[in-house]
Subunit: 442 residues, 2 copies
């Protein structure tokens, strides 16, 4: 940012990133005399952004006005976050204002096919690489310049505000972003404990590792995988920071091998003609193991990938959502049910198979609902507890603050010897069910 000296005491002023800055108007505050003023810095950021991203600054200004793009501090770093798709920028895209100007593009939405044949033939034309889609949460890991502060505590904005954000104090730092574009302190720490990323980023500072954090002991999506256990990471894409261009399947796998980083399972590369038969076999098999599904990619990565999921995954999600029926949107339920209809059709279920599919679906809806109504009738609110491993109670508290930043209602309910129990609270479900039980009208 341009240097601004305080008109009152001549000290060097700082941008106050917590205020509603725009691309052209910034709130500066003076660390010495506490003078605050809004300063126009036209022809600076908007020019830079146009130049680097090839996106009109008017579009970004509009998006900021609508609240779809915001300035804030993330782990000590001034950040511009695109919460919604803006022009060609995917939602979850971030720009970090360190001494440089670093862009990490959002992970592109992968579209779903409801029917494998003829979709695969039409979409991929020659070859289809089939990788496993695991049930965890989407993470982008990158190496950025960041202020040289004390690791985790820097996540905290208040703490940060007492430190100068001065050029020259920066160093390279690995960060892990969740889908929305927020640096997650839990994931940032654990990704680096699970993998040795230093060599990779030393050699490839402009690449982003995209993958799934999976396992039972994470605060977002808990599922047991025998090969993972408590916590693990699997890489599915490597992309260029600024352009978001992915490496080919082959390049990705050889690069991961070279740095001993764990790729997701590759089921094989099939001809587009016969892929659907192979995938139906794969889906039936992994479904029985309660695994999620597959992502289908062209080996060149020049065609957008597609995803397809198992019946068991649909039921699991429906079951999960009906634990908290009034906190999950109605489209959530509908879309998963629709997937089941198309899968039953394409897999040409026998009458017995169809009956079983219907039974599983019905149970996935009714059973959790009856349970949660009973629970709330017994005076227990709708909550979800997860245990995560942390080094200190402070680290757990910082993570809960991170959840609050994401708009999640959560609290730390227990901390004991490196184990923190985090409780998510589902207020809509608790309140509505309580009301209906007491005779509230629908």
């Amino acid at each position: 940012m341009p240097e601004v000296n305080c008109p009152q005491c001549s000290s060097k002023m700082r941008v106050d990133w917590r205020r509603n800055n725009t691309l052209t108007h910034f709130f500066y505050s003076c660390p010495s005399c506490e003078l605050e003023s809004q300063i126009e810095v036209e022809d600076f950021l908007e020019k830079k952004i146009e130049e680097i991203l090839g996106i009109k600054s008017e579009k970004i200004e509009e998006s900021i006005k609508k609240g779809n793009t915001k300035f804030f501090i993330s782990m000590g770093i001034p950040t511009l976050l695109f919460k919604k798709e803006t022009g060609k920028l995917e939602s979850g895209t971030v720009i970090y204002f360190t001494d440089g100007f670093e862009v990490i593009r959002g992970f592109p939405k992968i579209r779903r096919t409801l029917i494998l044949s003829p979709a695969l033939k039409n979409h991929f034309n020659d070859l289809v690489a089939v990788e496993e889609k695991m049930n965890g949460y989407n993470v982008r890991i990158a190496c950025i310049n960041s202020p040289n502060l004390n690791n985790l505590a820097d996540y905290d904005v208040e703490y940060f505000s007492d430190k100068a954000l001065e050029v020259g104090e920066n160093s390279k730092k690995v960060v892990a972003l969740t889908r929305g574009g927020y640096i997650c302190p839990f994931t940032t720490k654990n990704a680096q404990e699970l993998m040795n990323l230093d060599d990779f980023f030393a050699d490839n500072p402009d690449l982003v590792i995209c993958g799934e954090m999976v396992g039972t002991d994470n605060p977002y999506v808990s599922q047991y995988y025998p090969e993972i256990g408590k916590l693990g990471f699997r890489v599915f894409d490597i992309r260029h920071k600024l352009s978001n261009e992915p490496l080919t399947i082959e390049d990705k796998r050889s690069l991961l091998k070279r740095y001993a980083l764990p790729p997701v399972r590759l089921f094989g590369v099939f001809s587009a003609e016969e892929a659907h038969e192979k995938i139906i076999e794969i889906i039936k098999e992994i479904g029985l193991e309660h695994r999620e599904g597959v992502v289908m990619k062209h080996p060149s990565m020049e065609i957008p990938p597609l995803k397809y999921t198992s019946s068991q995954a649909h039921d699991r999600e429906i079951k999960y959502a009906f634990n908290f029926p009034f906190d999950f949107g109605r489209p959530f339920f509908f879309s998963r049910v629709i997937r089941e209809g198309f899968q039953a059709y394409e897999m040409d279920d026998s009458p017995e198979e169809l009956e079983k599919r219907a039974q599983r679906l019905g149970e996935a809806i009714i059973y959790p609902m009856v349970e949660i109504i009973k629970q709330i009738n017994d005076g227990e609110p709708a909550v979800e507890d997860t245990t995560i491993n942390v080094d200190s109670k402070e680290e757990a508290e910082i993570f809960v603050r991170h959840l609050h930043d994401l708009g999640v209602s959560a609290m730390l309910i227990e901390y004991k010897e490196g184990q923190a129990v985090i409780r998510r609270i589902y207020n809509a479900t608790t309140d509505k069910i309580k009301n209906f039980i007491n005779g509230g009208l629908y």
Copy 2:
């Protein structure tokens, strides 16, 4: 309406009800020289409406602007229809501009309880009359002044426009309105064939008969009832035209008896304390006969009624909707599934009962979906055919025009000896499924 003489040829001008009139500005046209002009008639309609309905004319003007209230011609009668609730006026309220000024209030929405106990005790405090809720369509029958034209053909606006709407040509006429407030030609004719309404309305011109048209041979909701067969009518309420005040249960039943009009079944009047137990028995029993549910009313009708439905009714609706999954809204599925959850909880299903409930629900979702996907894959669009009895092909065509006025996509596909087959067309379902089958992405 105020009389207006043509400034060009001095003939008496007529209001053009098909144009966008407001409460204070009307389009008049001259039948002789065809001059058209918009004329301000302030202090007329809005004053009258304020006086009679006790509702601010500004509210109605606003509602007209938003398109929630509209002027149009219904069976030859200039009409103001409230498509949405406006002030205290229920949606479906109509005002007919005949020689007088007749109001028929919309049928009030009956709220649903998801749990019977303690809702009934809280809501009704002493007594609860339990009537059957049948699965047909809601009809209001009233007697109004109407222009003396030839019965059914008068429904047609074009035909009407060649006739003068002159004071003095009116006579009493019985009309049947569906929920939305449109006079339905099919229902108007059949209600009078099913029941002798003349004596009732001769003695009670200010009352409205509210009931359900049921049976297999109607164009809206087809369900077989052994005591009804093809077509029948059951009265559930008698209300005052202008005030919408209902008669007490006792007065209603004795009045219906006097005029030999058929009431809905009354299961009994129970103490509010024990009603829930009785109703659970009733619901289980009628559910097994695939009947809909009950409406619970205070005998005085001074407390708003509540409704409650059987599990089989929920499944039937879900099954019906999943024949046309992309034409029914997502909230449709969600709300019915929620009802099942609360019912399973309150009825304290045994594990076997719960398993069966889940099975029925799952089948109600999956089976129709697989069928419709197969059908569309075979090149057959998603349609629904109903056969109705009519006197002539013209009558059938008039009914289809009525459906178009309601925004329903329908056509007459066959007419033979008084039997007309009307086809409803579900375009969203046909188009979307066709697209997904061909590999369109979700």
